[in-house]
Amino acid sequence: MPTVSMTVNGKAVSADVEARTLLVHYIRDHIGLTGTHVGCDTSQCGACVVHVNGKSVKSCSTLAVQAEGADVATIEGLANGEELHPMQAAFKENHGLQCGFCTPGMVMSAVDLANNMKNLDEATIREQLDGNICRCTGYHNIVKSIKDGAERMGG
């Protein structure tokens, strides 16, 4: 079994895993960070989105070995201690989550979106959110949250 090493939320981690291990299972089962979720088996739902070297990635469609040496950020690394990241704070303020299952992936996608595009309008947010499925909110408050969060992030 290969040894796979990377940095997750600023900490060096390493684990011996089967070569077929997906990044999401490496993070959940070997590193023990269960905030990243698995909601489907076709890379559609986006519950597993993390950042790899600063870009949002569906960790269910990446092998752990492909992330060897990478700098990975998960939902657990976003807040500053108990102080929420502006995007997390915007989701709370705007009721952008209900059951919470899609939320980590939504927030990680939203942060990447806000980092990459400025002056986000509603239509752009809706279009860019195509890779994240939520069954609870009808997206109304997620879109509102992302607009607010992007503004809080300075966009």
Binding site: T34, T42, H95, Q98, C99, D130, N132, G138, H140
Partner: protein, 783 residues
């Protein structure tokens, strides 16, 4: 109103953990020595099993055990049950109830049916070994179509001749026929309520453990009702005695009905964990969810509405074929009967109604309650029929509803189909919705669309639903096998903080916040000092769970009852400490005051006194901890009007919802932010049903919409923003005046959307989902 009391848009207490990745869902939980389960599932819709050879799988790397139905039966584990008996026409006392083995015994009846369990050291090993189980299938013809299942050449179950589960009726057939005979106009509509797959984002999962030292089981499971799971699994499946089985439903990632039911997986894993002597975890892959979660809807109906010359409804006659799938799921039988046809009066004064329903078996996944459960089917049928009648008689669709609404002074109103509505003002919701949707400006907007080569349509939906199912005795009289009360337990700690436990379950609805608001409001305790605990049979009192928008109407009422008991006891303690008569103690907002004086004790002081009872009234028990059980007096009846406006491109069939307005009467609202979120989510699912979603089986019973590549889930760019408002007629029948808000959006929206699309496309029927292709064809036909 306080900033955290009833009516305040308090931000949710549960959000911090969900937003930071600290949620605790079943699959997040791992225990020492855990093994992993994989289920061998039928690849055939209908087949005999001539043999199962498990030897290769059993010998594979890491495999701990391979178990089949024979072993399950040998250990006396009972079949899965349906908890609601439906008596049929002509004095038939019971529906046909085929045995539903948790692991197949000689036959499989749908693709995804459970054949064997493989337990291994890793998930990969379990999955690989599952493929090595050799099953000798002898394929049989499959029964698939809802409308063609009855008297099919193939019979699925010996216990259900002609594939009939029941032939049931409600209402007055003779009075309905008589009204039709005198009608000036009859509108006939044939509608299909498309089959849906619930798709909570968290797939179902369980983690079963057995402690050989204590003889206790612990089952973590994705459940909306952990006590019901424990009750059914002990009383009927017999996998563990009730007092030795702890069921924990931790954070659950959405339910929408699909996590009410007691499924094969949790029963089999709870049995197997003792057998193999190791904890067993099972987590559904999404493809398994598609195949084996209970599906929703799937009706084929014909409705006839008799009207007088003024468009007044005289009678409604309905026949429905309801697909129940291959077996009866836990509450399947009640959904197309008592959850459906009892709502066919809608918000109208229709004096005569008759409906008969044939529940049919097919070689498809079991069908059971999905958000709205019966009420969306009733509302869709009725509102499509009303809209069609308005078009046929050339009456404005809002006006025909006005003419037929039950008037505000007519309550309590007895419908011809069981329900007695407590209160409502349907006209108020209609007028408010028309104003918010700017119906007056629609003609100009339509002209504008037409000038750009587009078509524009407006669709109405006036809905009513029955929430907070009960009273228990009525449920029993109609065949239900359970009580539908709720419990609450309010425990003051000595330092004045409060733990509230109730038998409902939070899987996105915000109970930890909304119930804390109720307690804060009643007992004057700061909301940050209140903890709401649900989902663990070892912590809270027995409760019936969360479904049917019952949590606030029934669970909230139980909390109020328990709070009243706290106040009652507090008065005794305050009277003693303040040296006054109990009758002279006034209670308000957490303070116990001697009337007409400034002598006061706060509830925190009362709590401390109760736990350190040095100066204490004689004969009063120490402690401040009260419990209440609440059985509702009636259902609650949220109602409202939704208006959808669409623009259609006739050259492509592309449909855009350009305005969606919802006005709902939920009575008292505890947290408007949470309620709006519930409405948004419900509309999202309803628009999904109307325009995108549909579970399709091919003629061989293969699910062809078995992944997110094939089953169209609503995504952010499929939906608009929603324009949401409320009216309020508080329910007089529960202490909070609440009605429930979880399902309204999913109930109201499908007919609003289809009425709008058909309005845009020339009026002819378009079945859900109104895909681009169907809309394009309708536009072509209209031109």
């Amino acid at each position: 109103m306080s900033e955290t009391g009833i009516g305040a848009a308090v931000r949710r207490k549960e959000d911090q953990r969900f937003l930071t990745g600290n949620g605790n869902y079943t699959d997040d939980i791992n225990v020492f020595g855990q093994t992993y389960a994989a289920f061998v599932r039928s690849p055939h819709a209908h087949a005999k099993i001539n043999g199962i050879n498990t030897s290769a799988a059993a010998a594979a790397d890491g495999v701990v055990a391979v178990l089949t139905g024979e072993e399950l039966a040998a250990d006396g584990v009972g079949p899965l049950i349906c908890g609601w008996n439906i008596a049929g026409k002509n004095g038939v006392e019971a529906h046909n109830s085929p045995v539903h083995h948790a692991l197949a015994m000689g036959k499989v009846n749908y693709v995804g049916d459970h054949v064997a369990l493989v337990v291994a050291e890793t998930q990969g090993q379990a999955d690989s070994a599952a493929e090595m189980v050799e099953v000798d299938y002898e394929e049989l013809p499959a029964v698939v179509g809802t409308g063609s299942a009855l008297n099919h050449t193939t019979t699925i179950h010996e216990e259900a001749p002609a594939n009939m589960c029941y032939d049931w009726e409600i209402g007055d057939s003779a009075a309905t026929d008589a009204a039709f005979a005198s009608a000036a106009h009859v509108t006939t509509v044939e509608v299909v309520n498309n089959r849906l797959i619930p798709n909570a984002m968290e797939p179902r999962a369980c983690l079963a453990q057995y402690n050989q030292g204590t003889g206790d089981w612990t089952l973590h499971v994705t459940s909306q009702n952990p006590h019901v799971h424990r009750l059914v699994m002990s009383a009927f499946n017999g996998v563990a005695p009730e007092h030795k089985l702890r069921v924990i439903a931790p954070d659950v990632g959405g339910g929408f009905g699909s996590k009410i039911f007691i499924y094969a997986e949790e029963v089999v894993c709870t049995w197997a964990t003792r057998k193999v002597g190791r904890p067993i975890k099972w987590t559904a892959k999404r493809s398994e969810s598609f195949l084996s979660d209970a599906h929703g809807r799937d009706h084929v109906s014909k409705a006839e509405l008799a009207l007088d010359a003024d468009g007044k409804f005289l009678a409604l006659r309905v026949n429905t074929k309801a697909n129940l799938g291959a077996y009866l799921s836990t509450f399947a039988s009640a959904v197309p009967t008592y959850m459906y046809a009892t709502l066919l009066a809608g918000t109208y004064t229709t004096p005569a109604i008759y409906c008969d329903v044939q529940g049919v078996f097919t070689n498809t996944a079991p069908v059971d309650a999905y958000r709205g459960a019966g009420r969306p089917e009733a509302t869709y049928l009725l509102e499509r029929t009303v809209e069609t009648a308005a078009r046929e008689m050339n009456i404005d669709p809002a006006e025909i509803r006005r003419r037929n609404f039950i008037q505000p002074d007519a309550f309590p109103y007895q419908t011809p189909v069981v329900h007695q509505y407590d209160i409502g003002d349907y006209g108020a919701s209609l007028e408010k919705a028309c104003e918010m949707a700017d119906v007056g400006g629609f003609a100009a907007r339509r002209s504008d669309s037409e000038s750009r080569g587009k078509r524009r349509g407006l669709g109405y939906s006036s809905y009513i639903e029955a929430c907070g199912i009960a009273p228990s005795a009525a449920v029993g009289a109609l065949g239900g096998g359970v009580g539908l009360w709720e419990s609450a337990d309010i425990r003051f700690n000595a330092t004045g903080s409060v733990t509230v436990m109730t038998g409902t379950h939070n899987h996105g609805q915000g109970h930890e916040t909304a119930f804390a608001q109720v307690v804060s409001d009643k007992l004057g305790v700061p909301i940050e000092n209140i903890e709401v605990v649900e989902g663990d049979t070892d912590k809270g009192p027995f409760g019936m769970g969360t479904y049917g928008s019952r949590s606030i109407a029934v669970g909230g009422s139980a909390i109020v009852k328990a709070a009243d008991k706290i106040i009652e006891k507090g008065k005794k303690i305050a009277a003693h400490c303040l040296e006054a008569a109990e009758d002279d103690i006034e209670y308000d907002g957490g303070n116990f005051t001697v009337a007409g004086t400034d002598k006061v004790m706060n509830i925190a002081e009362i709590a401390f006194t109760a736990y350190v009872p040095h100066n204490y009234p004689e004969g009063v028990e120490p402690g401040l901890h009260e419990q209440a059980f609440y059985d509702p007096l009636n259902f609650s009846f949220p109602a409202g009007v939704h208006i959808c406006e669409v623009e259609v491109d006739p050259t492509t069939g592309e449909t855009e919802i350009v305005n969606y307005t919802a006005v709902d009467d939920f009575g008292t609202i505890i947290n408007p932010m949470i309620v709006e979120g519930q409405v948004h989510g419900g509309i999202g699912q309803g628009v999904g049903q109307a325009m995108l979603e549909g579970a399709n089986y091919d003629d061989n019973g293969q699910l062809v919409t078995g992944s997110y590549m094939d089953y169209t889930m609503p995504r952010a760019d499929n939906l608009p923003n929603f324009n949401v408002g409320t009216t309020s007629t508080p329910s007089p029948l529960n202490p909070l005046g609440v009605k429930g808000a979880g399902e309204a959006g999913a109930i109201a929206s499908p007919p609003a959307v289809i009425n709008a699309i058909t309005d845009a496309c020339g009026g002819a029927m378009i079945d859900m989902p109104a895909t681009q292709e169907k809309v394009w064809l309708a536009c072509q036909a209209a031109e």
